[in-house]
Amino acid sequence: MSLGGIPNLLVDIEVQRNGFNLRVALDVQSEVMVLFGPSGSGKSTTLQAIAGLITPRKGTIVFNGETLFQRGRAVPLVNAPARKRRIGYVFQDYALFPHLTALRNIAFPLWKRPGAGSRARELLEQMGLSGLGNSYPHELSGGQQQRVAIARALAAEPQVLLLDEPFSALDLETRRRVRGEVRKVLHETHIPVVLVTHDREEVLALGDRVAVIDQGHIVAHGAPLALLGHPPRERVARLTGMKNIIRLQVLGADPAEGILHCGRGEFLLEVPLSDVHAGQEVMVGFRADDVLLATTKPVGLSARNAIPGKVVSVQSIGTVYEVIMDCSGIYLMSHITRRAVEELGVKPQVGLWAVVKTASCFILHE
């Protein structure tokens, strides 16, 4: 009963595990759906339930009209075993069989089928692993292991592919390098893909859609760029890595200019016009990436917000530096490069100007 031949996975489940309640509903077409959330939010549990490795307390899992799981009051129990669901699963640590070569790993689901060897070799080459077929998993690099794991899952010709933090076992450099390749492979499969991650970059690089999960519940979903760029609520903003979230009072609106004047004490900020009234308290958010730093008050610049402040701390976080500024008692966070730190002489107690575009700020609903 496929609707117009478009693959479609419907998930609506409740899982109870170690006193933790998970309630997730997903509708995935032939696209990459990213489940994004902090660790412990229930992402992996959701994948395990879809794959049939754990049994939800109630709910349904339907693929193309075929019920894989169904449990609830007044309905007969359906619980297809994992092996019959045809759902591919790429585990976080890849779970390659250590006693089998790369080729035998890929051929595992093709056991006793005619042409298994040549099909496995074909997949091996497709993944750019030719020549590594006789290597054991421990002899392969992290990126190679990941590709063997994906090839092995695809060898079973799954109807749905699940990937649990597929890049977390890789170093930062490899992660960026292989992301493009994985994206290509995932889109070529033309099947519903659910990918779990807690990395914003991966959401933007790989996702067609994203669902933000927090404490066992999906708190937001939509297109990655829209959702991560303009999270609708404070909680979602925090989960998606928005570092500057401040409580301000609406001082007045300027509908002609399309802006709102907000502030607290001496701290003033212009934000895009929103449906709020003067005197109201609002949460305003903007990314640390969108905060520029300047040694003097900038002139001839389109950005409308220039806020004087003092550097509190400078700290390296991976590829960028995180600078915390004290602006009239309000702490702002800015991400700048190492070169910028050197050229501006950024160190604690130095006075600087924080510059934020009005369009980078937005009001969050609590």
């Binding site: 794959a51 049939g52 490795l53 075993p81 994992a82 092996r83 019959k84 669901r85 045809r86 759902i87 591919g88 699963y89 585990f91 640590d93 779970a95 069989f97 250590p98 006693h99 070569t101 595992f108 689901p109 056991w111 006789n134 054991y136 421990h138 002899e139 092995r152 899952a153 060898a155 079973a156």
Partner: protein, 229 residues
């Protein structure tokens, strides 16, 4: 090799062969169950299986004697009349070797990352498929080490065997019993020879089992030429 040694030696290997078979089947089942299924009272079951490690073999033999003797269900209903045959010797030996096999198998299976078995399931493997293609190959070294230790222990069995099979030359008199007999008869030359043979076999078995443990520990295992092909 003179007849007084050859006959007990042959009988010893015959008893060990059957005991090893019993060890493999029951030890494997029990080891896997104890590693994977947490049922109420599993600790009690485990302790009972391990008892032969600390009980005097005569006690184990006595239990067997009662279980197989006149009036026992095994004899009267199942028609299992094996007392004072080499079959009884094999059963006694297997029982005494069982703890070693179960302990080793359980540890090897418990060590396997459950994600590997789950991966096999998502790849379409049935439960027997998961066991024979993933669990057993990965636990292979531990299972083999346990089997060899258990078999070596079975080969050296004395007390329990004496209780249920006696020491009938040519029928149930295995090497350990023949040694006792030789010493009783003050035939020290014969005893020396048999003692050396026993020690040699035990040493090789233990050494091999220890070696399996050594190889197992440092992670990646060695591959053989056959596997590379």
């Amino acid at each position: 090799m003179p007849g007084p040694i050859l006959e007990p030696l042959r009988l010893s290997f015959q008893v060990m062969a059957l005991a090893t078979l019993l060890l493999f089947v029951f030890g494997l089942i029990l080891g896997v169950l104890l590693a994977r299924v947490k049922f109420p009272g599993h600790l009690a079951i485990e302790t009972i299986i391990l008892l032969p490690l600390v009980l005097p073999p005569s006690v184990v033999g006595y239990y067997l004697l009662v279980a197989l003797g006149r009036g026992s269900p095994l004899k009267e209903w199942a028609g299992l009349d094996i007392l004072f045959t080499w079959w009884a010797a094999a059963l006694a030996s297997a029982l005494v070797g069982l703890p070693l096999m179960v302990l080793s198998t359980r540890a090897a299976v418990a060590n396997i990352n459950p994600a590997l078995e789950n991966a096999a399931r998502t790849l379409g493997s049935s439960e027997p498929g998961v066991f024979f293609r993933v669990t057993l190959p990965l636990a292979r070294r531990g299972v083999l080490a346990g089997l060899v230790l258990g078999a070596a222990r079975a080969l050296g069995e004395f007390g329990a065997t004496l209780m249920v099979a006696g020491s009938i030359p040519g029928r149930t008199q295995t090497l350990p019993l023949a040694i006792y007999d030789a010493v009783q008869n003050r035939d020290y030359i014969l005893a020396n020879q048999m003692v050396l043979i026993m020690t040699g076999i035990a040493f090789v078995g233990l050494w091999w089992a220890r070696r399996q443990e050594e190889v197992r520990k440092p992670g990646p295992r060695q591959q053989t030429q056959e596997e590379i092909e």
